[in-house]
Each structure stands twice: as structure tokens, then as C-alpha cells.
């Protein structure tokens, strides 16, 4: 029998997480290349609706892994449920999106089964009989091809944006859906989660901005943010920042771009002194044009920049403000 790839999609608060489709696209590509079977699973309480939604895509089968104890999410319950499922439904490869929730339980699940997870992958390669997964290392400065040296199931998580969710293939007919009720004993769940909440009303909606000027560590001091602000004003754009700037309190948290902040896709993203750690890049790589100014010629931000300036932002920005004003005045 062919080996099985299981894609575990993510649902939260009654919604299928968008990145689930990306992981499904990855699963379809892998299944086609390896000649393996593709199945999907959704974990939770009352998740049959999601299972039916997935069943419209090109998959052999969809499982709804059900227990009242799976809502709200806890790592203890999710690991108990998925371990039980994988023991009775062996899979060669288990794929999930690299979300905060998956990060929270996958290492525990793999360890509970004596296995390992290759996390935050951006692709895969088939090399002869060997399957390797590509992931970024050293904050994106280097990449690594990583293989499993242990038995199945192999756990792999894919980075947000690694595959195109809109490229997921529809099935010729709806795949069968099976509900698997799992038994989670009393006392298994130790954490008591409260309601999910948002800190404060987000004052700035950067997702609507057409032009964003973002600052990173290279700005050095809080008072220097002023020149970035002046550039943003000259361009008629919004000011944003990478995480360390908001952590330091130099700009409010609602100006943060990246996995823990906002995800944006403006016409222009001008990155000043931002090295381009993965967590930042996932929040802005959809920008139509990226201009990066950084002292470090090896900064990962240059990998995705359309226009790059290797140099000191304090030298470049003041004349740039003047040039922008000149062009605007002339037009």
C-alpha cells in the first residue's frame, strides 16, 4: 500500500485558518511527486463542517477528529487526540502550518511518539529516494536541507506563505469524510485557557496603507525615528517597525509588522535598518515593491528587495526626503 501523507488543517474560533490551504497545496504537490496518498484531518469539537469543506479538494479522505475536550485548544488534548489517531491511522508524513498553535503542540506530539519535527519549512526536494525539507537558518541568512533519520511518522510544519493557498486543487468528486471520536481521559488536560482577546483597539490599520516606511534596529535610538517619520510624511505613507523597536517602546505595538504584528501588502515598503528576520518578512513579503536600506550587505532583507541600498540610513534618508519633496513639488 502506498504511504500516506496526512495534512492536519487548523481551525480556530469557528474559522478555518487560511494557511491550512497552503499546507494542503504542499501536501498535494508531495503526494503527486512521491506517489503517496493524501489525507486530511481537522481536530476539534463539532468540526464536521470543516471536514466537508476540505473534502471538496483533491484528497483521498478527510477525518474529523472529535472530542468535546478539544475545545478550547490545549496542547495536552491535541497531543492526546492526534497520538491516538496516528497510532490507529499510521501516516508516513504529517504536515501542518507553522502557526503559533502548531508550534505549541507539535514538538510535544513528536516527542510523545519518540519522533521529531522539522519545523518552519519553506519547501521540499526529492533527491533520488531521499526527501529533504528546506528551512531557513540563522534568521534567513542561510538555508538548510534537512532529512529525517528516524522512523515515521515524520512531522513537518510549513512557514506561512511557503505555498500558494489559492493553488489548492479541487477534487473530481467529494472525498469521503469519517468522524473519529477520540477518548481523552480526565486529568489529561492540565492547562485552563481563558478567552482569546485583543489588547486594545488597534489604532492604526497598516493593512490599508499604500506606502509604508518601516524601521528596524538600524535606527539605533528612539530620537532617530523622527527622520523615518519625516520620510513617511513626505511620501504620504504610514510609519511602521520591526518587533525590537516596539519591544523597546520606541513605537507603539500597533505599528509592528510581522508574525506577531500586522501582515501588510502595500504598493511600497521601504525598510530602513531592518535586517529581515523571518518573523518580520512573513508580515511584508507581499508588498509590491520593497526598497531596503541596510549597512549589512548580507542582511536577508536584500533577498526580497527590489531596490537595495547598502549604506548608512542616516546618510541616505535626509537627502531622500529632500528629493521626494522636490519631485512632489514639481509634479
Amino acid at each position: 500500500m502506498a504511504d500516506t501523507i496526512l495534512v492536519v488543517v487548523e481551525q480556530r474560533e469557528g474559522k478555518l485558518n487560511r494557511v491550512s490551504w497552503e499546507t494542503l497545496t504542499a501536501g498535494q504537490a508531495l503526494a503527486a511527486e512521491m506517489g503517496w496518498m493524501l489525507e486530511a484531518a481537522v481536530v476539534g469539537s463539532g468540526v464536521a463542517g470543516f471536514a466537508n469543506e476540505i473534502a471538496g479538494k483533491k484528497v483521498s479522505k478527510v477525518y474529523a477528529i472529535e472530542s468535546a475536550k478539544l475545545e478550547p485548544y490545549t496542547p495536552d488534548a491535541f497531543v492526546a487526540a492526534l497520538k491516538q489517531f496516528l497510532v490507529s491511522h499510521p501516516a508516513k508524513l504529517v504536515l501542518m502550518p507553522h502557526t503559533y498553535q502548531v508550534r505549541d503542540f507539535v514538538p510535544k506530539l513528536a516527542t510523545a511518539m519518540g519522533r521529531t519535527a522539522i519545523s518552519d519549512c519553506i519547501g521540499y526536494k526529492k533527491e533520488g529516494e531521499k526527501l529533504v525539507f528546506t528551512r531557513q537558518m540563522f534568521q534567513g541568512k542561510l538555508a538548510a536541507d534537512v532529512s529525517f533519520t528516524s522512523d515515521a511518522p515524520w512531522f513537518v510544519t510549513f512557514q506561512n506563505g511557503a505555498y500558494r493557498g489559492d493553488k489548492v486543487e479541487a477534487g473530481a468528486s467529494a472525498a469521503p469524510v469519517e468522524t473519529v471520536n477520540v477518548d481523552i481521559a480526565d486529568g489529561v488536560i492540565r492547562n485552563k485557557p481563558h478567552e482569546v482577546f485583543k489588547e486594545a483597539k488597534q489604532a492604526v490599520d497598516l493593512t490599508q496603507a499604500e506606502i509604508i516606511v518601516a524601521v528596524g534596529r538600524g535606527i539605533k535610538e528612539q530620537k532617530n525615528i523622527e527622520i523615518a517619520k519625516q520620510l513617511a510624511e513626505a511620501l504620504g505613507g504610514e510609519l511602521a517597525a520591526s518587533r525590537p523597536i516596539c519591544d523597546s517602546g520606541w513605537l507603539p505595538m500597533d505599528r509592528q509588522i510581522g508574525s506577531s504584528g500586522q501582515t501588510v501588502a502595500p504598493k511600497l515598503y521601504l525598510a530602513l535598518g531592518i535586517s529581515g528576520a523571518i518573523q518580520h518578512i512573513v508580515g511584508m513579503k507581499g508588498a509590491r515593491t520593497i526598497i531596503a536600506v541596510n549597512k549589512d550587505s548580507e542582511a536577508p532583507i536584500f533577498e526580497i528587495a527590489d531596490y537595495a541600498v547598502v549604506g548608512n540610513l542616516f546618510d541616505i534618508v535626509p537627502p531622500l526626503i529632500e528629493e521626494v519633496k522636490k519631485v512632489k513639488a514639481g509634479s
Binding site: T116, M137, N191, I278, D306, V309, I316, E323, K328
Partner: protein
């Protein structure tokens, strides 16, 4: 509370990295620093100790150079340190690193174990959660706040896109700490002096060898990522570059 903080030494953020001859790791001759989220984990442990009393112990694995991370932690106020000292620890996967740590602390009884949420080198974001499972403890990840209460602790988890969640959990527990949870302190001169007399236990590979196995995953090769974009580098004196950029903004990007 007795708190263990797992710390890692990683290449400095701006350090240019060179591949080794086999293309499986970087050359060691770079500058190192403490993994940033681990610095926040240490700071949080020190603050918890200041509030509730107890002890802060720091642990790391790696060659002799990694001791610097422990020395800095002791200077900032940690009480003692454990150094799993061997070059071989650098290449261990998260599963085996956690197993080595678990073996090294088997005679200690901690209430809490902190790690940074991920390392700046591998970036797997796994060691803390794996360690929790090996110890049979509950865990919570990407933590932004910790309050002790009668039954254990209440932590604030960061979720995606600006969402948060409070979680009540019993002790002992493992928490992975997010950067920015607190404001980092500097070591004082007195702290640096005192650190010299604080206990630092060295654990040789042989002592924990029986706990670790062959890696479950293997880095086949490490390389400079291929560029997917055609990047145009603008060069010249600052004024000229600024002029070129403004032209691009007007004619190519069309935002002016």
C-alpha cells in the same frame, strides 16, 4: 520559586557567516552573543525571584566559548550555572538537547523552566516544549506575562495578529518566553565581581551520553539561499543614491 533558564549562545546578529568545508555548518570563527529571547527569559526569572524568593539557575550546552553566556547571567543575578561542555552539543537536534538537559538536572527540583521562544541560529522553536514532554510537565509557549497564584501560575500567551490569551496552569511547568516581556537589565560592576565566586558546574558529554541518541533529523547541507528576486543595487554617494531612489519612486514604483 526555583527557576531554571535554558540559554543558548548564537552568532551575533550582524556577524557575517561562512560555511565550513563540508557545507553542513558555519565556521566557528565568528562573534557570539546570547540568544535574544533567552536574555528576556533570564530577566523574567530574576524578576520572579525578586518577587517570590527562590533561586535562578542557568544552563547551556556547547563548547568552552558558551560559558560566556552563563558568566553574563551570573553577573546579572543568577545564582548558579550548569554548562554541558562539549563541541558535540552544537550539532544535537532539539530532541537530544532536551534529553541532555533533562539528564543534567535530574537531581534538581525546579518549579519553572524558562527558555526563549526560539533560537536565532536553528530557529526550530522546539527544545522547551520537548523538554516539558520529557519531564511530563505542562507547558505554554510565547509568554508575555507570568503571575503566581494559589494553584500555580497564570500566564499570558501571545497568539497571532495581536491576539492574546490567559492560561492558568499548575507547577512545575515549562514556559517559552517572548522577547519584549520585560526590560532587560545590565550587569553591575558588583554583579560581575560576585559572578566569579558563584558555582558553575561543568557536565561532560560522557555524563549525559546515555540519555542522548543519534539525531532524529540531519542537516544534509547548509547554503546561501538562492535569490528569487532581481534586486537592483543602487550605488554611489548618498545624495546620488537618494536622487536615483526618488526617480525609481516616481517612474517605476509610481508612488510620487
Amino acid at each position: 520559586m526555583k527557576i531554571l533558564v535554558c540559554m543558548k549562545q548564537v552568532p551575533q546578529k550582524d556577524a557575517p557567516l561562512k560555511l565550513n568545508e563540508t557545507g553542513t555548518w558555519i565556521r566557528e570563527d565568528v562573534s557570539y552573543e546570547v540568544n535574544e529571547p533567552d536574555a528576556y527569559a533570564l530577566e523574567e526569572a530574576l524578576r520572579q525571584k525578586e518577587k517570590h524568593g527562590g533561586e535562578v539557575v542557568v544552563i547551556t550546552s556547547g563548547p568552552a566559548r558558551a560559558q560566556q553566556v552563563l558568566r553574563e547571567a551570573l553577573a546579572k543575578g543568577a545564582d548558579r550555572a550548569i554548562h554541558l561542555e562539549d563541541n558535540a552539543f552544537v550539532g544535537l537536534d532539539a530532541f537530544n538537547t532536551a534529553r541532555a538537559f533533562a539528564a543534567a538536572i535530574k537531581d534538581d527540583q525546579f518549579d519553572l523552566i524558562f527558555t526563549g521562544l526560539q533560537s536565532d541560529d536553528y530557529g526550530y522553536a522546539q527544545t522547551g516544549v520537548v523538554l516539558a514532554e520529557l519531564l511530563g510537565w505542562p507547558h505554554a509557549t510565547i509568554i508575555m506575562q507570568i503571575e503566581k497564584n494559589e494553584s500555580g501560575i497564570r500566564v499570558k500567551r501571545e497568539l497571532e495578529a495581536g491576539y492574546f490569551q490567559f492560561v492558568d496552569m499548575p507547577l512545575p511547568a515549562v514556559l517559552t518566553i517572548q522577547s519584549g516581556i520585560n526590560k532587560l537589565r545590565y550587569a553591575t560592576l558588583i554583579g560581575i565581581k560576585q559572578a566569579k565566586n558563584k558555582p558553575l558546574r561543568k557536565v561532560a558529554l560522557a555524563e549525559v551520553q546515555s540519555a542522548v541518541s543519534a539525531n532524529l533529523q540531519k542537516i544534509e547541507r547548509l547554503y546561501v539561499p538562492q535569490k528569487t528576486k532581481n534586486t537592483e543595487f543602487l550605488e554611489g554617494p548618498a545624495g546620488e543614491v537618494a536622487k536615483k531612489l526618488a526617480e525609481k519612486l516616481r517612474n517605476e514604483v509610481r508612488v510620487l
